[in-house]
Symmetry: C2
Subunit: 328 residues, 2 copies
Amino acid sequence: MEVVDILKKYSKSIDEEIKNSLISVDPDELQKSTLHLIEAGGKKIRPSLVVLSSEAVGGHAEEALKTAAAVELIHTFSLIHDDIMDKDDKRRGRPSVHVMWGEPMAILAGDTLFSKAFETVLQTEVDGVSYERVIEALKTVVDSCIKICEGQASDMCFEGNFDVSEDEYMNMIYKKTGALISAATRSGAIIGGGSPVQVETLTEYGRLIGLAFQIQDDYLDVISDEENLGKPVGSDIIEGKMTLMVVHTLSNASNKDKEELVSILKADKDTNVARAMELFEKYGSINYTHDIAHEHVENAKKLLETLEESEATFALAKIADYVLQRNK
Amino acid sequence: MEVVDILKKYSKSIDEEIKNSLISVDPDELQKSTLHLIEAGGKKIRPSLVVLSSEAVGGHAEEALKTAAAVELIHTFSLIHDDIMDKDDKRRGRPSVHVMWGEPMAILAGDTLFSKAFETVLQTEVDGVSYERVIEALKTVVDSCIKICEGQASDMCFEGNFDVSEDEYMNMIYKKTGALISAATRSGAIIGGGSPVQVETLTEYGRLIGLAFQIQDDYLDVISDEENLGKPVGSDIIEGKMTLMVVHTLSNASNKDKEELVSILKADKDTNVARAMELFEKYGSINYTHDIAHEHVENAKKLLETLEESEATFALAKIADYVLQRNK
């Protein structure tokens, strides 16, 4: 089965759970703004990981659907608030929520999706899952929300500060991107009744592919093409963003090259993207980034081999590969 | 015991729970912004209601402290986000969080407090409270968060629309103000192990004093004085805000008076506050507002009489009275 088919398998059921959750939101303006990005689609990787992780430990897909929906609601909440903070006007090919309804309603739409996510996990009990598992799943999801906020705050604090170590950078992207993906696989394994070892294995699998996902994003920004990216090559350089390539080059370059890269990243206009790429190349940072992403995915797949082979573990391995195969 | 002493009784323990919850927040900027309003004080009415409601049904105060802290965290989250939406630059005598750290960090501070609130309730299990009670308390708290968002959205949608019925207005203020106060008393009763009847009684008590609290705010805006209010008398009229007096006058006035009041409320400058008050007076709306607030408080106190008399029920009755006695 191809990844696109894997992600399609539960997509409809997940969408139904999400829409059930949001149907009662009142007033209309608030409901519409919460549904805006949901209706625009999205690949549903995170909620699919919840269901597959549950199945991988022998659980029933149906029991994991509400937690899956919750993870997608949290992802959507974070996109809406991030778009306000980062002043991003487009998302999933549509105007962002704050562009459509203004910032106050967009803040509320995010807060509502956030609340609805917890309500949805709490309803898992209806599906016959024990209180204990629901509480453990909730703890996992809540913990990832705290990390998402901390990761976004660190990212904001890093802006214009190029004195960031690789450890600090990895910790930031773990919190910002990895934590929710890891919470998806962990909460799925918990709801599915996995043993402590199985739960930890899938947590770590999620953490590794989550990190690989972000690192691959960094990598694609310089090696992909505009048509696939949907934005110019080197956008991260133009925006002066911290990426693994920047961190790696800065910690290996001569003082002169370091200064040059920082001044390119800080430039307000006519950013010398080509020269930044030359510097990345000079210090092996592009290959380094490629290798780290691959290493994370390989380690994630090795972890899967410790679980009993099933259609679900096969699908999880496919998703790990997909993190590197996508070109946008 | 006076209300000020009742609120002081658990204030220190509640503060400790809140600070324990926020001590791990990272980076520093995010932690400081989450603590800003907490450190500014606040009367701690909501968390005290959690503890007292737990005690009123025979529970131990200690078991209810984490849920109490969570309710205060949610209250603080909603203040931070409301201040961004309403462009309020001051809160608790300090510059608002978004004034100090900018809107992006203030959005994140709110989101972090929100997440931390749920984490805190989930830790109640450590205090030996059953999973079932923790889940029921969480459902209550989550439900109030959804209502807070809906209430704020309705309030925003009402702006400039004076075609709002009394029922619609009461529903809006219930969601915006009453729901969290009602969730405080309900979750306290649940954690304390109250019977279904006791839980419903305290839920309704909370709803009634929550509504009375907001209605009394409406009332004080026209009958108090600037020194006590900390803002000019008639501020709500100047801001063109919907209040129970406005709703009552508009639904009872002649067409001519109705038009006049609407035009006063819509005025951008030189708002004729005195004339608006005359119109309120003409249709008995000031007395009506006073009476509704008193009626709610009386009904709330009658409900308490159905519970076994204790220091806690006595304190809850005192808090109900306090809703009407305060002058700011």
